[in-house]
């Protein structure tokens, strides 16, 4: 217990407090009010980064919710359980490549000279790597990479949740004349709604932190994508390129507040975590 308390204090609470301290002080350690926040927000890279992350989140969350639910429902009703299990595991494997590995794999997948989908990329009119990763495409590409590594785990979770719906309930709906579609829509999806919300919250909070994808793409894009695509990158650049830890901390605190609000709403409203 003591061990956990120390870790919680040292790597949960103290850095939060420390980040807040830096966000509200200036380089001379004087209280600076909101000036770090307004100055960071006036930086020419700030609004574009917010836009990028917003667009990415929109695509990623919609794709995640739609495909995960559809695939989980389909896999759940497969008559042969072994196949369902095998397919779930196949979908889950890319989770092992989370982080930098997934980005490297997708760099290759998106390069028409070596990609197995080269014919498809050319069909879409993209003959070179530079054309594929032009800035307007990045949000959708990052969402695709995130989906590739993350969706499988969530499909497994949703299948688990679907398994926990009592069979009698489905039978009752069927006797009442409901078909597969309306059972899915009226019974199954509402019964697993809590899990869907949980998924959306974690994916949203994680998505606001977008870093490794744009960071690696920027070092491999022949200069197409900048180093300041996302807010986390901007915060990193403030801290380590511009030597302005106060602006960096301000952005960190903003992201922290967003995820804190989301987490707090979820914890208090959902009763998700009550064990008894």
């Amino acid at each position: 217990m003591a061990g956990y308390l120390i870790l919680l204090a040292a790597f949960g609470i103290v850095p939060t407090a420390y980040g807040i301290y830096f966000a509200f002080t200036n380089a001379g350690n004087y209280f600076a009010g909101l000036s770090n926040f307004t100055a960071a927000a006036r930086d020419f890279r700030y609004l574009p980064a917010v836009g990028h992350v917003g667009l990415y989140l929109l695509i990623w969350l919609v794709a995640l919710v739609v495909f995960v639910i559809v695939l989980a429902l389909v896999l759940h009703q497969l008559p042969v359980r072994r196949i369902s299990r095998m397919v779930r595991f196949l979908y889950y494997i890319p989770g092992a490549l989370a982080g930098a590995a997934s980005v490297l794999v997708w760099l290759f997948m998106l390069d028409p000279t070596v990609s197995p989908a080269a014919a498809f990329l050319r069909f879409l009119g993209y003959g070179t790597f530079g054309q594929v990763i032009e800035p307007g495409h990045l949000a959708i590409l990052f969402a695709m990479i995130a989906f590739w590594t993350g969706a499988g785990g969530w499909i497994v979770v949703m299948c688990g949740a679907l398994n926990n719906i009592p069979v009698e309930l489905i039978e009752a709906a069927r006797i009442d004349g409901a078909g597969g579609w309306s059972i899915a829509r009226r019974v199954q999806v509402p019964m697993i709604r809590k899990w869907i919300v949980y998924m959306v919250i974690l994916a949203f909070a994680g998505g606001t932190q977008l870093f490794v994808e744009p960071q690696l793409i920027s070092s491999a894009s022949l200069g197409v994508a900048g180093r300041d695509y996302s807010l986390t990158q901007l915060s990193y650049d403030f801290a380590f390129q511009n030597n302005n830890v106060n602006y960096a901390a301000a952005i960190s605190v903003e992201l922290l507040v967003v995820s804190l609000i989301v987490a707090a709403v979820f914890v208090t409203r959902s009763r998700f975590f009550d064990a008894n």
Binding site: V70, V157, A205, T232, V245
Partner: protein, 315 residues
Amino acid sequence: MQTDVNSSAVVPAAAPARPRAKPRQTPSPARATGRLLIGLLLAAFAVFFIVPILWLLLAATKTDPQLVRSSPLSFGSWRALRHNWDALTSFQGDTILLWLRNSTLYASLALVITLVAAVPAGYALAMTEFRGRRALLVITLVVMLMPATTLVIPLFLELNALHLIGTIWSVVLPYSFYPFGVYLTYIYFGTALPRDLLDAARIDGCTEFGAFQRVALPLAAPVVALVGFFSFVANWTNYFLPYVMLPSSSQYPAQVGIGLLLTDVPQFNPTAGTGAVLRPELALATLMAITPVLVVFLFAQRFLITGLLAGATKG
């Protein structure tokens, strides 16, 4: 209902396979088309999820010209694989192996500390009453829902003030703080461990710690394994934290290392100088960086897909 979902989610034994409703209708043409569509949908996604990994496996067996000219999903040769291996390991003198060693060291140390800290904490939260328990629980949950990257820059500032930047502890200690592990064990002990069993142990003369160690801990083996699995995978695949904390490339874990290799691949970065890394070598390096996690996945396959995972994943 709420508890039901949670408990059966974390406890394999509590979720027996339920008998499934048998399909009753006789097959009709519409039904057959439906099945075909479902098959196509599942196959299309299987291709999407698996082909990139297959490609990666095969790319490591090719030379760079073969990578461009031969069919993307063909096997190259063992000789080329051998050659890529030699070229990769000679890059900056065995650096890739050093990175893998670093990854192993960081993730394993963190794993041990995580288990030692998180499991007793989850137990105490679930089984004992103390002042501040409720507050501690709420804080744990909130921190757990925060993505790990949120605190990286503030952590850097904190560890910088403590002069820990560049030491392995700047990575290992933040990795070891794993509130999700506390939550998982808390749910497990709170819902699945019969209190009578602990009372019996106490009557038999066990101390508090003895009851935990001899009764609760063995019963919780599956959930401890699960916490270990998630902690190891999360830490192995972490990029941002070591990227920020470790200034010297000889300290990089594999994840950050392959990112560095990428900048030496001329096709992706024309400014890459001499001693450039060829694309098949990068593919091989990526493969090596993920192999430990893939192996863990294969071992963990059974509990991962039995639905045990429900309620047990983070981002």
